[in-house]
Structure formats: structure tokens, C-alpha cells
Assembly symmetry: C2
Homo-oligomer: 260 residues x 2
């Protein structure tokens, strides 16, 4: 792993759907030729894992292959573990120039950014100061058509590699599931929530109530015209710059009554 | 669960260390008398689980006891699952007035807010529009002295129950581990990161590299005087108002070059 002498951009690729998901294969396919690619993907599905990491278990990192352009590992942990562990072990001598996560099977628009393992990896990049982009396609189907999403990767990544990102900022990119895009829009995360989140499997026995996760997304501000939800519905790729400082600065004054 | 006719404030209690952690017992002890308490705690440790939820497994909710003041369940999922599932099943007819999470064994200051299961539950409150507070004690010891932390809970919760919170805002409260507090401070989340994050268990066999999680926190801005890190070191309880909109608004203009 003599990355130090490699003149190419060094790109870490990960995801949350796991190493065998079509989405990550399409991501690697789209990135080929843009740099030295190091894929470190979870060895099992990690959807909904957010920024979680493995606190009390042994973590395994397994080198699978290397063809000179793509060095490929699997990791037993979460997407955040993939990033942390590869920085610890694989990128000791040279940090990656960019982290790319995805392409997620399903959107990570609005507040999904808080639950998403795909975005967990991206936000870890934000914490350690490495430019990072999450790509998600608004279609859950395992056999979805990723052609448009690949085109979006090929459009955005070279520009970001060239111009970089302000420190403390990363990108959440969502791609609508349609053949013809209407454009690319930088916008803010919409305010929304999930409801009807469970199927009741057994709610008779109070000593062992059982449920299965379901859920529907609801947009709290369908009238707003500056959100990712709005632009995705119009057929635009949405680009939301994200940060990890979640301090609600506007509310600080209002809580001063708690000071002593 | 006829909460609708109960005149008392309805308080949901959860944590990430699990139902048997001393921290949650101390939290419930401190809250006794302030309302009808419903504890829904994970049945296993969930440290570092962030905002993750259980996407593809059956979830179990088990009613353990009810003494009229405290109704107690365990849940097989993450802290976010505890909140979501209790809203779905236990609080169908009346939503809680407040969610309280903790008392965490160990601090959740600075960027730990992004990894913490304790704060995951709190941020879920933020998403669904229920006031929420996370309490964390800066001491990992299972047998730590929680007396001061209990005092902090008894100081903050009644004020918040009375005054409420602006929608879209929740609180991350950290308590320094000392006998005599110097005060309470509303402040912002410090910019920091973790490093030296792993012990190498086996790094000889590339086909199965093994690691164990460790780590040290580093503050990127030790000179700043408005951060939680600064005030915790001065012996203050820190109160950081948090939100789930992570859009980096200051950076939006700078990414406009990506628009088409």
C-alpha cells in the first residue's frame, strides 16, 4: 500500500448496503479512471446504522483483491467502522483525498441523513477532515437502473476532486429515479419525519410484544421551494452540504434561563 | 395505559447502556415525583449506536412492571427503536411531554453527540417534535457516584417541563465528574475528533486483520471559550441545544459551481 508515491487521487469507497450490493459496483464502475480506488465495504447489510460504530466487538478487515486500480477489502463493522479502520490501517501513510459512499439503494433525502449508514461514513469524513460525498438513488429495487446515477457520479466527483471542499463540510447527493434529469440543485435538507413505522406482529402478549419495521415518510413543509424534497420531485439531483456541528445556535439565547 | 386521564406530565425514559445500567436507575430516581414515568430501555448495551434503528429484524417489547408511577419495559432494539416503538405502541393515545435519555456512563460532549445512542434517542425526539434531554456523566465507571448528576436532572427537568422547548430543538446536557459544580452554561458543541482508535489484535494475516476499538478524544479548538469542552473543564454543567437539520448553510453558496 505504497500510496505515497502514487500520483493519482486516492479515493476511499464504502457503502451501507454491503460489498455485494449493485450500488457499490456501479459506484466503483463510475469512479474508474479518476484515481486509485480503495473499496472498504461492510461484509453484511448496514442500512439504518447511522453514525454507529462497533464499541465492544473484535473487528475484521479482509483483503480481497487488488488490480492496481482497485484495492478491495471487506470489513465486519458499520460504514463508520469501514472509514475509521481503513484510516487506521490502510491509509497510515497517506490519507484519502476523497471518501465516496453509496450508491445507496433508496433515497437519503430530508432527515434520512440522520439514520443512514451511507451518510454515516460521509459524516465520519467530515469529523476527520476529509472531503466526502454520499450518493443515493431514490429506488430501493436491488436491480434498479443505475445508469443515471453513474452519470451523476462522473459529473460531480471530478469537480470536487479539483476544487476540494471547505473543512467541516461534506455532500449529500440524491438522484431521482428517472431517465432524464432536469438539472443539479444545491439546496437544504427538508424538515420531515417517518410515521406508521411498524407492522404489529404480536401485540396480545404483553410479555413479548413483537413488531416489524415499516414506515412512511412525511414532509412537514411541502410548500417550501428550497428543500431537497422539492427539487427531487422536480427531477433534479439534489446536493445538500452537511456539517456535524448540530448546535442549534438560534435557540441558545432562549435556553439561557437554565444558566446558573 | 390510560395516560389520557392522567393529569401528570408523561415522561419517557431511555438510555443506551441498557436497562440494568446504574445510570438509568439514577435517572428514574431523580425523576420520581415529576410525572408519570414510562421507562423503555434497551435489553442489551447500545453504546455507540447513534441514530441507528433496526431495519430488518423482528423487534421485541416486554412489559416488566408498573407501580403506578413507573411503567417499565425493555426493548430488543436501539435507543431510537425504544423511542419509535413506544410512540407506536405505548403512547398511541397521548404522546409523552418529555423524553429523557441517560444518565450515560461517559461524556457525550463535542462530536460524541454524533455517535451516541443516548443522544440518538434525544435526536429522535427532535425529529418527531417532542422535547427531549440527554444527560451524560463524564465518568465511565459502572459504579460512579451519580449524586451530582441526579441533582442536575432535578434542577433542569422541572424548568423544561414548565417552559417547554422551541420545536426542532433538544438538549444535550453533560455533567463534569466532580463533587462541587461551578454552574450551568448554555454553549456550543466543540470541534473535535477521535484518534488512536484501535488496538491491533492481528495485523499479519491480510485475509483476516483483527482490531479492537480504543481511542482518544482530541479537541481542535482548545482556545475557544464558548464550547462544551471549555466549560466542562471549568467544572460547569454544559447545556447544548441541538437540532437535526445538518445543512451547512454557510457552505451552500460555495458549492453553486455544481449546479446545472
Amino acid at each position: 500500500m505504497n500510496f505515497r508515491e502514487d500520483p493519482r487521487p486516492l479515493i476511499l469507497v464504502t457503502n451501507d448496503d454491503g460489498y455485494d450490493a449493485p450500488g457499490i459496483h456501479h459506484l466503483v464502475h463510475a469512479l474508474r479512471g479518476m484515481g486509485r480506488i480503495v473499496e472498504v465495504a461492510p461484509d453484511s447489510p448496514q442500512s439504518g446504522k447511522a453514525c454507529s460504530f462497533t464499541a465492544h466487538d473484535r473487528l475484521h478487515l479482509r483483503r480481497v483483491s487488488d488490480d492496481g486500480d482497485l484495492l478491495f477489502y471487506t470489513c465486519s463493522g458499520t460504514p463508520v467502522d469501514c472509514v475509521k479502520l481503513s484510516l487506521h490501517h490502510i491509509f497510515r501513510e497517506r490519507r484519502p483525498d476523497l471518501i465516496v459512499s453509496g450508491i445507496n439503494h433508496g433515497g437519503n433525502d430530508s432527515i434520512c441523513v440522520m439514520y443512514s449508514g451511507t451518510l454515516g461514513a460521509v459524516l465520519e469524513g467530515c469529523i476527520v477532515g476529509i472531503p466526502a460525498i454520499g450518493f443515493s438513488l431514490l429506488e430501493f429495487n436491488w436491480n434498479a437502473d443505475f445508469e443515471t446515477a453513474e452519470e451523476v457520479v462522473r459529473t460531480i466527483v471530478p469537480q470536487v476532486l479539483q476544487k476540494g471542499m471547505p473543512r467541516g463540510t461534506v455532500l449529500n447527493v440524491n438522484v431521482p429515479y428517472c431517465k432524464d434529469l432536469n438539472g443539479y440543485k444545491v439546496c437544504r435538507q427538508a424538515d420531515g419525519y417517518w410515521h406508521k413505522e411498524y407492522e404489529d406482529i404480536d401485540v396480545e402478549n404483553e410479555e413479548d410484544l413483537q413488531f416489524f419495521t415499516a414506515g412512511q415518510y412525511a414532509n412537514r413543509e411541502p410548500e417550501a421551494t428550497d428543500t431537497d424534497e422539492y427539487w427531487l420531485q422536480k427531477g433534479y439531483v439534489t446536493i445538500v452540504p452537511c456539517q456535524v456541528d448540530i448546535t442549534a445556535r438560534h435557540a441558545m439565547e432562549g435556553f439561557k434561563y437554565l444558566e446558573q
